[in-house]
Amino acid sequence: MIVNNEKDCILDIRNLHVWYRTYGGFAEVLDGVNLMVKKGEKVGLVGEAGCGKTTTMRSVLRILPENAVVPKGEILFHGQDILKMKSQEINKVRTQGISMIFQEPSAALNPVFTIGTQMFDVIRYSGSGKAKSKDEIKELAVKAIREVYIPDPERILKSYPGQLSGGMKQRVCIAMAIVTDRELLIADEPGTSLDVTIQDQVHRLLRGLVEKKGMSLIMITHSLGVAREMTDRIYVMYAGSIVETAETKVLFKDPMHPYTLGLLESVPRLTGGGMAEGIYGRIPNYLSPPQGCRFHPRCRLAAERCFEEKPPLMDVGEGHYVACFWVQGVI
């Protein structure tokens, strides 16, 4: 278990379980997620497609789909459980505490309203919009668009999303997420639809803004390279739980969980050396996930204990936690 004795911890997800109701029964997707973000920290959440990254972050904002249930767990934002908040309180978190950049910029922007209309609304409904005149609101919006390096903010405010390129839309989404002060920004794979040079621009921009404003960042990505460049600490997720977390430098110097190793080996290297095999097997069916360690059917090192018992996250030193009996030497 990660011990939280940090006073400056702003988000603390504890033992979070999320299931989806489906025709075939409950899909038990999240299986006890533990994740913590400190003030000013840039955290990466990495894992294969379908491992539950977006589900985790949607739970934080309480915007899960209708068919989701949360049978267990806590999400503490400044010590207060988001899952137990009344609608007024959670609205305050959404408009003042945490903002999110979604995976698909086109899904986040409404095509029938101008960028201006949408940005003004964001400002109006946040705390910082209170008692502000129209001009003041517009000034804030213009400033935010400048901050994401788009020239000619006045024109952008009058544009509809369809009139902007993919890269511009992505930056407009960032501008909307930072137009009012928040403590935590959640970015779900921003830039995956862009090419590396534009992606690089978007990432540098995000990092700069987060540092300048003293915000915390959760960066969701399935690219280990992106996580390495963007974050201070990484959480590696497999099939609904965190299997390893460490400071970014430590994780790349000394990765331990067999899943993390498998992911790292699969990345083609700029130094060459040919292609790796890829991790054997695939993400489980969540309707009947494997008992014990959910990774065991794909693990080269799995032993009997792994079939029966779920390994807890344990400290192996330097704030490096690994959930694996083999690494813990207790197999």
């Binding site: 294969e48 090419d195 790349f252 083609p268 700029l270 040919g274 095999e277 890829g278 991790i279």
Partner: protein
């Protein structure tokens, strides 16, 4: 003269001054065009893996579709195995169609969701009479085995499969006709690294076994480093650099190539050291409807000079086999 004929012998595909423009309305009476492919010269040798890399919208898929005959070229020629095939697909011979296949960028939309895998794989077998009617099922099973899927997958529908498996089916379909040349349009971009590794390994095995030639379209230079024999970079409808892989990564010449290389997120210090010094990328990709005069990259180029804003550079051979289109070298 002799060496030229020898080189020509091993060339399987030669694209010359190829242009594919799309009309996109008018502005004040003059018709406007997206110059998606704008004067491309490219040769692919038999048995090689040519990596075609470029950012979104640079015209990679359009080039592929034009070679396949899905789009008609506005200008230029396509020579495949010595035969001019610069005509629409409907006027190409059956044998050209058999030898030239493509795996589409988006496996989701290129497979008919109302068909079973069996129906999808049967069609090319029937059209090209690859096997007798009575042996078709056997051949379908063989194709599935080739992409490492069990026989019962023939009864599945593509919608019930994951992205990786759908991509395997697209590959099986492309290989059903025993082609010689396969265009792979970003076959793994939408997938995780682990599935990507599996698909790439399979493609490499098949290439060796069946002596295939690949034109491999991708965004991913690290991937090309590991599998391509040569790499070509495309920007706004034009080729800006081509070189053998080793040489390409050892001494990238075009400023855009260096910008691409320096922007790649990598996972180790050793790779970090290989990257050219950070070239900060600024500026937007100009719209392909309104390509600026001079070099199309000049708006974003850190090494821009006066001439770049006025004169479009031409291709020069900076080192043997290493071609670059930039005023720095001409």
């Amino acid at each position: 003269m002799n060496s030229i004929t020898a080189a020509a012998e091993e060339t399987i595909l030669r694209v010359q001054n190829l242009k594919t423009y799309f009309p996109v309305g008018k502005s004040g009476g003059t018709p406007l065009f997206v110059k998606a492919v704008d004067g491309v010269n490219l040769t692919v040798k038999k048995g090689e893996i040519m990596g075609l890399v470029g950012e979104s919208g640079s015209g990679k898929s359009t080039l592929a579709y034009t070679v396949m005959g899905i789009y008609s070229p506005t200008e230029g020629s396509i020579i495949f195995k010595g035969q001019d095939i610069s005509v629409p697909s409907s006027r190409r011979s059956l044998s050209v169609k058999k030898d030239l296949q493509i795996v589409f960028q988006d496996p989701g939309s290129s497979l008919n969701p109302r068909q079973s895998v069996r129906q999808i794989l049967e069609l090319p077998l029937r059209v090209h009479r690859i096997v007798d009617r009575k042996n078709i099922e056997e051949k379908v099973v063989e194709l599935l085995r080739m992409v490492e899927l069990p026989p019962h997958y023939m009864y599945k529908s593509p919608v019930s499969m994951g992205g990786g498996e759908r991509q395997m089916i697209s590959i099986a379909r492309a290989l059903a006709t025993n082609p010689q040349f396969v265009i792979l349009d970003e076959p793994t971009s939408a997938l995780d690294v682990s599935i990507q590794a599996k698909i790439i390994n399979m493609l490499l095995k098949l290439q060796e076994k069946k002596e295939l030639t690949y034109l491999f379209i991708t965004h991913d230079l690290s991937l090309m480093r590991n599998i391509a024999t040569r790499v070509t970079i495309m920007y706004l409808g034009k080729i800006c650099e081509t070189a053998p892989t080793e040489e390409f990564f050892r001494s990238p010449l075009h400023p855009y190539t260096r910008m691409l290389l320096s922007s790649i997120p990598v996972v180790s210090e050793e790779e970090e050291e290989l990257k050219p010094k950070k070239v900060v990328s600024t500026g937007e990709i100009p719209s392909p409807v309104n390509v600026p005069p001079g070099c199309s990259f000049h708006l974003r180029c850190p090494e821009r000079r006066e001439v770049c804003m006025e004169v479009d550079p031409w291709m020069v051979e900076a080192e043997p086999g290493h071609f670059v289109r930039c005023h720095l070298y001409s």
